[in-house]
Symmetry: C2
Subunit: 333 residues, 2 copies
């Protein structure tokens, strides 16, 4: 197979006429090296194309600089945006992202964490799925940081960043009520993850508070296509809803398209729609969707910042607010 020949510190040292520790120190921020030595080393390194071997460095320093991002369905607009923001943040802190795809089976999140351990990742950030407690315990015991984004389940020692889904759902209801709607529905997928269910429950609870019953439909994956099925179910009811809160934007787009093209309903005059995530498509003029923006950059910044200075254990739950973005899919506004 391929023999890889990278240039090592020893070669640089030889060329510069110094010891290998001088080379090492030159590339260690804050180490004491004379200007002259540094110059000669840098020059030799440049000429030879030397790059510190981070594998070996990680071995010695017990700190690899690697952070694992564990994600499934990463081409989904919201996930992709989060991954982008995270890689950016990590790089700005001179860490590097290892991307692990957990599309396959259910235990693959556990597998992903094993990979993280094998590569001695300094931390893992989980965007999808929920790992077994046994494996997260092993990570934490090994000294690996753990961040769970929108996972909601409790894991002592990990940082959990969640949105206040219930509160957002409540605000969605108020907005629709103020728009004059009187027949409310919640369009959900069958994924039943905690954050998705929190939106449903928050919306229904707000409905009950105001004396309204909320129709709930759930179907399929949290995707565009499910929206059409949910539209079919909701718009063929005897009492057609005039307000629909969709569990996310993707599903909302599918539902709106079906409403318009299959049922000849217009948004917002016949039915008001609110989504969640504020994906790029929500702002496209075909949708012009009122929705909740996830503070993606904020989430990424908090996650990455915490890696370097973990807070006391009881402060490890961050609950962020989603911002309501008013567009044209709700009357008034």
């Amino acid at each position: 197979m391929s023999r890889k020949i990278f240039v090592s510190a020893k070669e640089v040292a030889d060329r510069a006429g110094v010891s290998r520790s001088a080379v090492s120190r030159t590339f260690t921020p804050g180490a004491s090296v004379s200007d002259e030595t540094r110059r000669r080393v840098t020059e030799a390194a440049e000429a030879l194309g030397y790059h510190v071997n981070h594998l070996a460095r990680g071995l010695m320093r017990n700190e690899s600089g690697i952070v694992c991002l564990i994600v499934s369905e990463m081409d989904t607009p919201y996930r992709a945006r989060l991954v982008r923001a995270l890689t950016r943040q990590l790089q700005s802190m001179s860490k590097i992202a290892m991307l692990i795809n957990t599309d396959r089976s259910d235990d693959s999140v556990d597998q992903a964490l094993r990979q993280a351990i094998s590569y001695r990742a300094d931390a893992s950030i989980i965007l999808s799925g929920m790992p077994d407690k046994s494996i997260t315990d092993l990570c934490l015991k090994s000294g690996q940081r753990l961040v769970l984004i929108n996972r909601d389940e409790d894991r002592e020692g990990a940082l959990m960043i969640n949105l206040n889904d219930r509160e957002a759902a409540r605000r969605a209801f108020i907005a629709l009520l103020r728009a004059g709607c009187r027949s409310f529905a919640f369009a959900n997928s069958e994924a039943r993850t905690p954050s998705l269910m929190a939106r449903e429950e928050g919306f229904c609870a707000a409905g009950r508070e105001h004396g309204f019953e909320v129709t709930v439909e759930r179907f399929g994956p949290t995707a565009y296509k499910s929206g059409a099925v949910l539209a079919q179910r909701l718009f063929t009811r005897e009492k057609r809803p005039d307000a629909i809160f969709c569990v996310n934007d993707l599903l909302a787009c599918g539902l709106m398209d079906a409403a318009r093209h299959q049922f000849n309903l217009s948004v917002p005059s016949d039915v008001c729609v609110i989504g969640f995530d504020d994906i790029e498509q929500a702002s496209w003029s075909s949708y012009n969707l009122t929705t909740f923006a996830q503070p993606v950059d904020h989430i990424a910044a908090e996650a990455v910042a915490w890696l370097d200075r973990p807070t006391a254990e009881h402060e490890n739950l961050h609950r962020l607010e989603a911002e309501l973005i008013w567009r044209g899919s709700v009357r008034g506004g």
Copy 2:
């Protein structure tokens, strides 16, 4: 800071009452270990939560298992899909993806490759930008594999996977001509990357072949928003085009939305539109866009397969065909 304490092979060896080499062999596929030894080692490893240190292994084997994915604007639908496919493929070959975001400056692709070298990546796959020859040479000299996807520029020793953009553009023209269109335009961004320009040139060339002049407009980034500006420019001309080939789907969506909502034109009766990439949104019923599908899975599979068995040097240019997906944005079909 954090002291990380991972369990080492020595501890496993002690607990299992064998030598450390026995442990190593147990975790090396194809090494000769007796069933009894293997059993005891596996048991001890399980109990202790041992995982082979891939950093150290990489150091010894001179093969890290790491493959760098170098991407900018990775939340763009097409890019996100490619990244997903690549991580999947890599994992199925028991390699792992390191994701490097090159959103920032222009030389950041070079920076990314330096990172790749530092982590002794076995290979780098470049999806965005074009690195300097000096740095790619260093990569190749170091024995690192290099894959360029849709980059088009030549790099001796690297695998280049390109689409046959010109041919696709030619087919787009024929399709529009057969649909009865007589006034052709090409909507491009200002990015001017080789593959984007190849689509433009191919379309114009096909036009000339058939005795038609093609109006070309270029504006901004290759994104949704640019579509509106291009629509503005094209639809306010004295001779309004009745056929527009857009450089990609994102831009096509923006252009179609502007056509419908700002200029009251209907697609395809007033104007036929063809896009490129076949992103998910192209199939959404608001767009129903006829477009060219990039063989994403095929690209990913070829890229990853080549890492293990690089072909002879003169065969390192793979040119793949884009498939025309007929939908409703072109008359007839």
